[in-house]
Symmetry: C2
Subunit: 448 residues, 2 copies
């Protein structure tokens, strides 16, 4: 076999860990990346085997795709990244179920393996030590390779635990953790109008991968799934192509597929007091191991965009409660003006409809409760009538769903004028533990 000979010729030094491409200057060659250097060495050896000329010129550096960013966020720390991190542009979200037979030690081992791989990938490195450019030829690479030339892309990986991890629907405490389930990790109630599909709801575990480059996010979920083989399998997953919220004042407010700006009044990471009050779980909330963590609610919300698109502009704006161009509340001002729900229009009614989305979702209507939204637009092909299967993959982080998502969504589900154009088809709730310390793993507190 030619490949075996090829392998045999690889010097041991080449089988070392491949770092992510950097534009190191190696041996005075300007612009030649470390990965390029390994490739060159391999190529020269290959040439030797088949008698072609050695010393092949490499005339280009390996550089990343233009759309990707070199940003990295620390993986280890008091909180998991991907919550108050400025929302990246793209999402790959996956819910996993533990495989039959997985026990407590197996679950801990999986979380340890995921932590190591996530810490590597978020820093722009391959998932494992042996990348495709450095691995032994007779073993599968422990990185799948499709992100090999790409910058880190601002990747964050955020892990969560679903209610079923603590106790299955049939009452089974597979991992000996049922007694440690946080009170805030409630099963979500059925909301009016819910049309949830069981195969795209729930899950024992979740991973939220966000990046400015979708290939980087997909690569991360794929490799975490590969690492989980035999221990956990993807239950459902979702790609999101465009962020629909800003989580930092440095970001422009994006638009959802109704064409409206979304997330204008979102919690911003700069508002430390609000973040501490509304996003991070505290030790005094009842589950000490969750201190510094948060609770993630995901809702796949299908939008009936074809019907929406035939609705008159004035009615669209009445439903939202803001104007479509600027995003200003209909009570006046500009995008970031506070809506005035008492302001009157000429006809004597309120300028903002009492059942508009902006009023029903507003903190003043919800006893001050807020959410840190981090959702994404999605399009999953089309249905048999040619309508795009499109909508919003809603993600929100909060300190306690019982006082935040649930009452807000109850109010929206009952009265929101928008309900005619949306259908909630998927749902999940997850306890997102605090960040791991280097040398430990995500969720270690749960097993301490």
């Amino acid at each position: 076999m030619s490949t075996k000979n090829h392998d045999a010729e690889r010097p041991e030094t080449e089988r070392q860990e491949t770092e992510h491409p950097e534009t190191d200057q190696v041996g005075g060659r300007s612009g030649l990346s470390r990965r390029g250097m390994l490739g060159l060495a391999g190529a020269t050896i290959g040439a030797g085997v088949v008698g072609l000329g050695a010393g092949v010129a490499v005339d280009r550096a390996v550089v990343g795709a233009t759309s990707s960013s070199g940003t990295t966020y620390p993986f280890y720390g008091p909180h998991q990244a991907g919550i108050t991190t400025p929302a990246q542009d793209r999402l790959h979200f996956a819910a996993f179920d533990a495989s039959p037979g997985l026990d407590r030690d197996g679950l801990i081992e999986l979380l340890r393996d995921w932590t190591v791989a996530a810490a590597r990938m978020t820093q722009g490195r391959p998932a494992g030590k042996y990348g495709p450019a450095s691995g032994p030829m007779d073993a599968p690479p422990d990185d799948t390779g499709e992100a090999l030339d790409l910058p880190p892309g601002g990747l964050t990986l955020t892990f969560g635990f679903g209610p079923t991890l603590f106790r299955t629907a049939s009452g089974d405490d597979r991992f000996g953790i049922a007694s440690r389930r946080p009170a805030a990790l409630v099963d979500l109630p059925r909301f009016p109008g819910d049309a949830l599909l069981e195969p795209i709801s729930g899950g024992d575990l979740c991973v939220q991968a966000c990046s400015d480059d979708p290939q980087v996010a997909v690569h991360a979920i794929r490799n975490l799934s590969r690492i989980a083989f035999g221990r956990a399998a993807i239950r459902w997953s979702q790609l999101g192509f465009g962020r629909t919220s800003s989580t930092s004042r440095a970001q422009v407010t994006p638009r959802n597929l109704f064409g409206f700006k979304d997330g204008t009044a979102n919690i911003k990471s700069e508002d430390q007091t609000v973040v501490d009050d509304q996003v991070w779980a505290s030790g005094s909330d009842g589950a000490g191991w969750m201190a510094g963590g948060s609770y993630l609610v995901a809702r796949k919300i299908r939008m009936v965009i074809e019907t929406w698109d035939r609705q008159q502009l004035g009615e669209q704006e009445r439903i939202i409660g803001r104007d479509k161009g600027e995003g200003a509340p209909l009570s006046g001002g500009s995008e970031f003006s506070d809506p005035n729900f008492l302001a009157l229009a000429k006809d004597g009614g309120t300028a903002i409809d009492p059942d508009s989305h902006v009023r029903l979702a507003h903190p003043t209507t919800n006893g001050g409760a807020q959410l840190l939204r981090r959702g994404y637009n999605f399009v999953d092909g089309n249905d048999e009538l040619g309508r795009l299967n499109a909508g919003l993959f809603f993600i929100a982080f909060q300190r306690d769903p019982r006082t935040q998502f649930i009452p807000i969504q109850q109010r929206l589900a009952q009265n929101d004028l928008m309900n005619e154009y949306v259908r909630h088809v998927g749902s999940g709730v997850f306890a997102v533990p605090p960040g791991a310390h280097e040398g430990s793993y995500v969720g270690a507190g749960l097993f301490a």
Copy 2:
């Protein structure tokens, strides 16, 4: 109704066409976009209505998302854009079927309407004159709005005609064009191993939307679908998140979901002779109206990535015929070295397996035939076993599928070592007419 009053207050000048956001300096306000200016005017009026203070300060310009590009490509010209255009990062592809009852005049009108909207959107403008910031309040906006603040993003829209447009499967010549069907627009034969699904194959018309920003591509397909309402409906559609080919020497070779570089030996737009010979249809090919056009073959290729990921590195490289890290042919050299299919390995066999993908797809194995590939990676969720529904949405342009895609694919389908890991599940072939002249429409030659 507050919204009607709001509308009534809008001066006529505001209902004019909204241009795409630009950072014009208007009235000495630095950084205030034209869209921002309209929004400000509307907001001030709103404030007047409800008695809030006028003269609200706008302290930020409307700027686009960070990931999007300001690139524009001309829409009108001898060839349609999106073929030799440097492959953009993201794809939304849609195949449409004509609606029952659509006649020749209706089809021409649809193509005219699509042309006008495409010419606008590719230049970063809304699909129609009345965008959401400028439209009459009692009519639906003629742009859906979600790309309103985004730069043009290098958008190209490329239109094609499927075999069924010329004659339906039941023999119907709905549009009086059956006699003008180009000989090169053949129905693709069934290839060994094909597992085609009829609902994601074929189509009367196709639109390929490519952009560096997925929201821009999605916006374009959505608005073309909206414009087609009652005349044509989406039959199937596909999002692609990462380009898998370079079509210009200025681009880095990307990787497919096997983790290998893809498109190293692709036709590059700089090679004018090759492009003229292999990509553009000529008047002498038999259908004069197609001169300057091309033929698009689309194949949705599902990859069995979980099985692939457990395959040893040496075997992966043997299947492809290149090394995974650098992308060099196994006969030696670097990525852009010509493969030497006669070069021997130490064991006496050829360094490149005769059934490797690189050999079977290579022009020397195919009588010089080449394709201009422009495919994209896709992930459409996962299957019930937790495997990512992932793969390559293959798109290739060529002068004549009878001498290019079909014989190449016959060879691959019979012997490619890669076949164990791929399954062709969708397929389409389309005649892509030449570019339109300003004032005319795409495909006008077919109806002349």
